[in-house]
């Protein structure tokens, strides 16, 4: 399934939706739309080979957690199409990027816009921290650092079964502080899991602020290579660079694309809050109003009428 719109248009659409949502709700994971807009747009609009969605455009309400008494339980993976051998799979490892991921599903026609209105509402499956029953999610990743390992296991299993589809993991840079990320790369390299792909939003920020002030991680490209992955670093807002990066040969190794990004890209006023952009809640009505006007102008839309 391919979208007729350009990936630039999809990225802009994602940002407009996340912006509108954050304005109406007086806050949200807004800066992740700035940094990751191109990456998720590119994955869904161009790179991933996905079938048509198997779940309803308007998400169903929450239908219970997995348990023996809930035999109809299913995940939200159906928004990415069927899990058949020829298709790719995607995990959103940092589950707080869910808002951006949901906006992406809408922009590429996999979920209805109503889905975003259900975000973080009681009884809804469209959870703030993407749960495995949330649209587009297949596993729980809210505890950061487990996504790449699960991806490696799935990729290994699919390779063993001779499946053509690739396994992709969208990652955040905070995850490199977790030891498990390195264990995952080590295992993927050791077992030659080259059908495993990751693209990481390297926005240099985490909850407490700049990564360098919280816990320096150094030259992660060299570190990934030393752990046995093929690793390429690109400008994460440059789609041509992204398209080229994935062509890198990586026989017997997982491919990790480090997308260096700017956490206020396309929303210049957010720089005022730099480097504390992990969760943007407007500090006053005045700030909310100023940001509304400024970001709307940057994104080429009318300011959001959030009064009702």
């Amino acid at each position: 399934m391919r979208n007729e719109r350009t990936t630039e248009e999809v990225a802009l659409g994602i940002r407009r939706r996340v912006f509108e949502h954050s304005m109406r709700n007086n806050g949200g994971y807004l800066s992740q739309a700035c940094s990751a807009g191109e990456q998720l747009a590119w994955l869904y609009n161009e790179e991933l080979k996905l079938g048509a969605p198997t779940l309803p455009m308007i998400p169903k309400p929450f239908e219970g957690v997995p348990s023996p008494s809930n035999p109809d339980y299913h995940t939200g993976a159906g928004y990415n199409g069927p899990a058949t051998p020829e298709f790719d799979r995607l995990f959103i490892a940092p589950a707080h990027y869910a808002l951006v991921a949901y906006a992406t599903l809408i922009e590429v026609g996999r979920m209805a816009p109503e889905g975003l209105e259900m975000f973080n509402k009681d009884g809804s499956s469209v959870e703030m921290i993407g749960a495995e029953h949330s649209p587009g999610m297949e596993v729980h990743n809210g505890t950061l650092g487990i996504g790449l390992s699960t991806g490696a296991g799935l990729a290994y299993g699919r390779k063993r079964r001779g499946e053509a589809g690739r396994t992709w993991v969208f990652m955040s840079d905070g995850e490199v502080q977790e030891g498990q990320t390195w264990e995952a790369v080590q295992a993927a390299a050791h077992h030659g899991i080259d059908n495993l792909y990751a693209i990481m939003d390297v926005n240099d920020q985490q909850c407490d602020g700049a990564m360098s002030s919280v816990m320096e991680v150094g030259d992660i490209k060299t570190k990934f290579q030393n752990f046995g992955a093929a690793c390429i670093e690109i400008d994460g807002h440059d789609l041509t660079a992204m398209r080229d990066a994935v062509k890198e040969k990586h026989d017997g190794k997982p491919l990790i694309i480090l997308a260096r990004t700017n956490p206020f890209h396309t929303m210049s006023i957010l720089e005022e809050r730099f480097p504390r952009l992990h969760y943007v809640r407007f500090k006053s009505e005045d700030e909310r109003a100023r940001m509304n006007v400024s970001i709307a102008a940057d994104l080429g839309v009318e300011p959001v009428d959030y009064s009702h």
Binding site: F62, S67, H140, G174, C207, D208, V214, M215, Y279
Partner: protein
């Protein structure tokens, strides 16, 4: 109207720790979410940023303990025992390091879903030798948690409330004791954490229905004063009911059950809490209703225990507090 206290932990930790050279504040990239951002900014020499790397943080804290420090670890409760359980055991619990484990967002107090909700931590901690367990149920307990935890010669697991917290009590935590909130003789209600406020919401409706309730609030879960509990059980006619923000396996319901079984008490016990289930994301009142942790669930449990119907509905209960998801007292919306 109950008094609401804004960010009680922030102030309490700072006034307790500032200037005490043996106390260090550790954080794993959730500094403002755990209300120690002000402390970090004003007392940087006592603050250690360890990044989002909890396994290392636990053993690192063990090492600090070996050097004679008393580290206070700050992160969401789940991130302090699920992944780094082995480190918690080997580096902290076994050698009885004086590490104070400040676990935020206990149980379903967060809309973050399964990965953010510590629903089985008490069960886990109860089974760890050398561990002390404290749980806060109001602002006064949050204000006294640092002192209480630091009085223990060994590791301490604390369930800490954050943000806007109601004040229900006027005396600090006295480790090892329990609070007797009412002294009736029909039924014993035992609660902890945020469930105590729920039980208080049902108080007047139950009194109107003619029931005499004895209500105990537990802030100290381990060590536990079994004798005091048994005395209270002996003072009621019908039986005991527990309500907790935790799975019923291994939490305070189990604690009461074990105490009763050990002493051969033949009264009925009903344990309310998460019934062998994970939870999902949603607001606190919604989740408390959905999983049966609220005042109404307690009333239904009491009806079951007494075999009577009281006709009590939501309207008869004191109103629930509705939290503002986007309140400025929280760093994010979790």
């Amino acid at each position: 109207m109950v008094e609401m206290v804004s960010r009680p932990y922030a102030k309490a930790f700072e006034s307790f720790a500032a200037g005490n050279p043996d106390i260090l504040c550790l954080s794993a990239d959730l500094t403002s979410s755990c209300e120690v951002d002000g402390f970090r900014d004003r007392h940087p020499d006592q603050f250690i940023s360890l990044g989002m790397a909890e396994q290392n943080m636990m053993s690192f804290a063990g090492g600090l303990g070996l050097a004679g420090y008393r580290p206070f670890i700050h992160t969401f409760g789940v991130f302090m025992y699920r992944r780094p359980y082995d480190q918690l055991m080997a580096s902290i619990a076994y050698p009885r390091r004086k590490v104070r484990l400040m676990g935020f967002l206990p149980g379903i107090t967060t809309p973050g879903g399964m990965t953010h909700q510590s629903i089985e931590d008490i069960s886990v901690m109860r089974s760890i030798p050398n561990m002390t367990i404290l749980e806060t149920g109001d602002a006064t307990e949050v204000e006294s948690i640092c002192e209480a935890a630091d009085s223990i010669d060994g590791p301490v697991w604390c369930r800490v409330l954050r943000g806007s917290v109601p004040r229900l009590f006027d005396t600090p935590i006295k480790v090892g004791e329990m609070r007797e909130l009412s002294s009736g003789d029909d039924i014993l209600v035992v609660t902890s954490g945020i469930c105590t406020e729920e039980a208080m919401r049902a108080r007047s409706a139950l009194a109107k229905a003619g029931l005499s309730i004895r209500h105990l609030h537990l802030h100290t879960i381990k060590p536990f004063d079994s004798k005091a509990l048994l005395d209270h059980i002996g003072s009621v006619k019908h039986g005991v009911i527990t309500l907790e923000n935790h799975v019923t396996e291994g939490g305070i319901g189990s604690l009461v059950a074990e105490t009763m079984a050990d002493a051969g008490v033949g009264k009925r016990l009903i344990r309310l809490g998460l019934k062998d289930t994970y939870a999902h994301g949603g607001s606190r009142p919604y989740l408390m209703r959905y999983y049966g942790l609220d005042a109404l669930a307690l009333v239904r449990g009491i009806e079951d225990l007494t075999g009577q119907q009281f006709g009590i509905t939501e309207n008869d209960l004191d109103s629930a507090r509705v939290e503002d998801v986007h309140s400025l007292v929280k760093a994010e919306a979790l």
